[in-house]
């Protein structure tokens, strides 16, 4: 149970961090390149600490097969365009921040220490993503259309975030999401049946592709070090 929680928290950060890293050198402008790389760095740092509670973080990251990953489906969704990446970040960070805040207050000491450290970083991520939701939604016809499409893609993976003990986080998340969408002049995407299963290791095809790139070096040259 303890290592299961460490894997879930660690894998969320690791997979989203790996996805975001692909923006390095490709973001629409320099400041965004820095922002997305910084967020990736924070998430991978947090993942290293959480995975360390379940075993050797490097082993778990680079030598585990796809069915053993316990991240939620949202974080493994493809980057798409910038709007789709922002949509994913917005939905995730606004869940992760209150989740970590609760873990810092109520979790067992080893988890609470990492959560207390991480929540300050994630507050920046949530603010960054929420501001871009407003900027894109209230921007041009093009940015608005792309954002609506991105939110629509990501929306079906939201329910999974609130499974089990995380159900209590939903009202706060709803309020955060609605407030930013209102400011952006956007409607909530239409309700749809949520897709779940990531926490049990049932993943979309995207995770396998991501891992094949991320794990290539250790698979091809086991034990390779800098």
């Amino acid at each position: 149970m303890r290592s299961e929680l460490a894997l879930r928290l660690g894998d969320d950060g690791l997979i989203l961090g790996q996805n975001l890293s692909a923006w390095c050198g490709h973001a629409p402008m320099l400041e965004l390149d820095l922002s997305l790389s910084n967020i990736a760095l924070d998430l991978i740092g947090q993942a290293t600490l959480f995975l360390g509670l379940a075993g050797d973080a490097d082993d778990l990251a680079f030598r585990r097969d796809v069915l053993d990953f316990k991240n939620c489906l949202l974080v493994e969704q493809p980057n798409g365009d910038f709007a789709q990446t922002i949509a994913r970040q917005f939905l995730f960070s606004n869940w992760q921040e209150p989740m970590l805040r609760d873990l810092a207050a109520k979790g067992e000491p080893a988890f609470a220490a990492i959560a207390a450290k991480s929540v300050k970083e994630v507050a920046y991520h949530a603010r960054f993503a929420s501001e871009w939701i407003v900027r894109l939604g209230d921007g041009t016809e093009e940015s608005r259309t792309r954002l609506i499409k991105g939110l629509d893609w990501m929306w079906r993976f939201v329910d999974e975030l609130f499974e089990g003990e995380h159900a209590a986080l939903r009202p706060e998340w709803d309020a955060r999401i609605d407030s930013a969408l209102r400011e952006a002049g956007l409607e909530r995407p239409a309700a749809r049946r949520g897709i779940v299963g990531g926490r049990e290791g049932h993943h979309s095809e995207h995770l396998g592709h991501l891992l094949s790139e991320m794990q290539f070096l250790q698979r091809a040259y086991p034990g390779a070090a800098w």
Binding site: L34, L49, I114, K117
Partner: protein, 143 residues
């Protein structure tokens, strides 16, 4: 033990070499058998370099027997940066952290500044620009 503090006060931060690891508040404690440090940001790549630099400084000064321990609690905040550290930051061209809304330009001292990006060249800094003298500068994130 006070000589260990003196040794550590000469170990520069790899990202901001004007400051020592003691100025930054990274060193938490020194005891007979260990030096305790804390990371600034969880993903800060400098964390490993800092530990290696402290290890080397301890070994060179005959303290190879001292272990290095890492703690997360209480989390590092900018309050751990010493007053001396703040003065060094300013002199180095980085606005020190402060709860004030506007950063003070480290070049001309003006408060007529704006935030360009909340994320900067390292995890601990944000990008700002002075509207009085035009200088772009880093500001230590305050938290």
């Amino acid at each position: 033990m006070s000589d260990v503090w003196d040794i550590l006060a000469k170990v520069p931060d790899p990202e901001i070499p004007a400051l020592s690891v003691v100025d930054l508040g990274i060193v938490r404690d020194v005891t007979d058998d260990a030096v305790t440090i804390t990371p600034t940001y969880t993903g800060c790549p400098a964390t490993l370099a800092i530990e290696a630099a402290i290890r080397a400084a301890l070994n060179e000064s005959g303290h190879a027997d001292l272990a290095i321990k890492t703690v997360l609690m209480p989390p590092w905040t900018t309050d751990w940066i010493s007053d001396e550290g703040r003065a060094k930051l300013r002199a180095y061209g980085i606005a020190p952290p402060s709860p004030a809304r506007a950063a003070t330009c480290p070049r001309c001292g003006s408060d007529h500044t704006e935030e360009v990006s909340r994320f900067g060249s390292t995890p601990c800094k944000a990008l700002h620009r002075c509207k009085s003298c035009g200088e772009p500068f880093d500001r230590f994130k305050c938290h």
